[in-house]
Symmetry: C4
Subunit: 191 residues, 4 copies
Amino acid sequence: MGKSRLEAFSDGVIAIIITIMVLELKVPHGTSWETLGPLLPIFLSYVLSFIYVGIYWNNHHHLLHAASKVDGRVMWANLHLLFWLSLIPFVTGWMGENHYASLPVTMYGVVLLMCAIAYMVLACALSALHGKQSPLAEAMGRQGKEVYSIVLYLLAIVASAWYPWLGVGLYALVAVLWFIPDRRIARRLEH
Amino acid sequence: MGKSRLEAFSDGVIAIIITIMVLELKVPHGTSWETLGPLLPIFLSYVLSFIYVGIYWNNHHHLLHAASKVDGRVMWANLHLLFWLSLIPFVTGWMGENHYASLPVTMYGVVLLMCAIAYMVLACALSALHGKQSPLAEAMGRQGKEVYSIVLYLLAIVASAWYPWLGVGLYALVAVLWFIPDRRIARRLEH
Amino acid sequence: MGKSRLEAFSDGVIAIIITIMVLELKVPHGTSWETLGPLLPIFLSYVLSFIYVGIYWNNHHHLLHAASKVDGRVMWANLHLLFWLSLIPFVTGWMGENHYASLPVTMYGVVLLMCAIAYMVLACALSALHGKQSPLAEAMGRQGKEVYSIVLYLLAIVASAWYPWLGVGLYALVAVLWFIPDRRIARRLEH
Amino acid sequence: MGKSRLEAFSDGVIAIIITIMVLELKVPHGTSWETLGPLLPIFLSYVLSFIYVGIYWNNHHHLLHAASKVDGRVMWANLHLLFWLSLIPFVTGWMGENHYASLPVTMYGVVLLMCAIAYMVLACALSALHGKQSPLAEAMGRQGKEVYSIVLYLLAIVASAWYPWLGVGLYALVAVLWFIPDRRIARRLEH
């Protein structure tokens, strides 16, 4: 069973997710700088989520690049990941419009946590399909980073109850952690 | 006539359908748990529809994987299926926002029924094009399951007039029926 | 210059156009049959436009299937066609929400007319690129049908000023005309 | 690392951007010519942005056509470009709904400026990856035009503070400049 349609469908869904978030940036009534003020927190949460969805697309690309086949379990694991990613626009808008209040920041973290778990499930499904000696399973050896991310998400979810900005800071930190090593892995693959 | 653009177009439309449903989850005003309460039924109907659209994408993938060519009739049968699938976001939102009231649950079933019929029509068009000895026509041998689904949809549509939750339960049952054997077929194809 | 990305991009845009039209079918407040009543004209205009966009996708598919290359002029002719197609959701919603009043029906026809002209321009750009002896230019020989359509659109636009329903009927007639021969051409290509 | 998924994902995002802009053309209440009047400036800004996004898609197509590989840096440079392009629908709607008032016109220019810079960054990332002797780096020799555009954007941003229409005129001028030579380059590539 070929992987090309799975990639094409995932590309389509992720492309829509990353783009419909901008619809939360509602065109304001008025033409002064003041009318842009209330949009700033929405814009910032859009930037953060754009980077997160970009990271997921990048990682999804690498993961499936290493895969040579897919089965029904992989397809559903992939749809499961897309499901949680599809909730990012909702929590992004909710967090941004409420100026990073406690509960929306917590729920943003819950969705990120579920995305991370869903990504691990997808990676495991692919790993199980390709066998333990496959290059894909080897690349999975670095699952440690996913575990760190999940711990940081859990910390952020708890912290958000008292210090929402600490939660947002931790989400940004995880994004930075993923953003940097991404290049490193790509380089390692070249060697 | 190649099937790749038909697949690409269908992937695009199904990707958009599965993603715009989440737009019905409108960002609430307020940051307490209470503001999330009214979203729960909408969320649950979103989950059910996401699974349904996922099942259709999966089956569509398998069906066209088995096909080697398409013609004008297949193209229109495919557009016919996409038409009914495109109504799923509407009935999903209507059912969820009205807390599974009788008529919206009925209409949800009518749209699912039409999707199932449209899928059978597409399968028949492909089967007619490839001939009775083709692997595709053989795979069609299991149309029995589609017939069971249609009977269950009809039951659910009738039941919804008095017990909407029974209707919803039957829709969920059909989803589970499709979800499980999907893997079994994929495995059978591997052998 | 390859045509695959032009096809992929057009597929994406047409898939979005055909799907966002359904967003005009706003989820109604209420759960009785009466709440569905006002949606009926919007639904009917959605059906008509879905068929039209489906016809354009089909024809676009055939046209580019016959093409072997594209250039900058073809790209812009293609974007020009996509521009007019992108206005179909707007006039569809306007016509449906105003119960087929005179001016919206006229504007619907104007957009259809511009789509037909843009399609002819794209066909000519491809024809000029491939030369007069190409199979593509031969297939263009049947441009007569496009001319008939344009005459019917013009008639419908004029008629809509007094009898909007006559205009709608003419639009439906053109859709039927395109829907039927489409199969015939596909069969002729097979021989 | 293949470039096909990067192209497919970019096609998807750009297709969505170019299409959701039309959602700002809200279906008016009323059926007279007067109800269309307030939509005219929104329509005109839609036309301008459609041409701009079309230009970016065209140039993106040419740029990646000349590329033979991508790396992590190119992926992020590409996402960076898509980010700024995704803000075009917002500033298009804001500019159109406020009848080309000073600040919205300025912000429209800022987004165009950031798109142009992001495009140059992407071109440089690709150029660095392919080496100085590559055909891609040679094609980059014409970066001069990008610099002219950036100067014109800066002029337009400053001018918009006093004469918004001069700013709009300069944006249109840049669009015309890119529209024309595009063909010339394609022809040069053919030789």
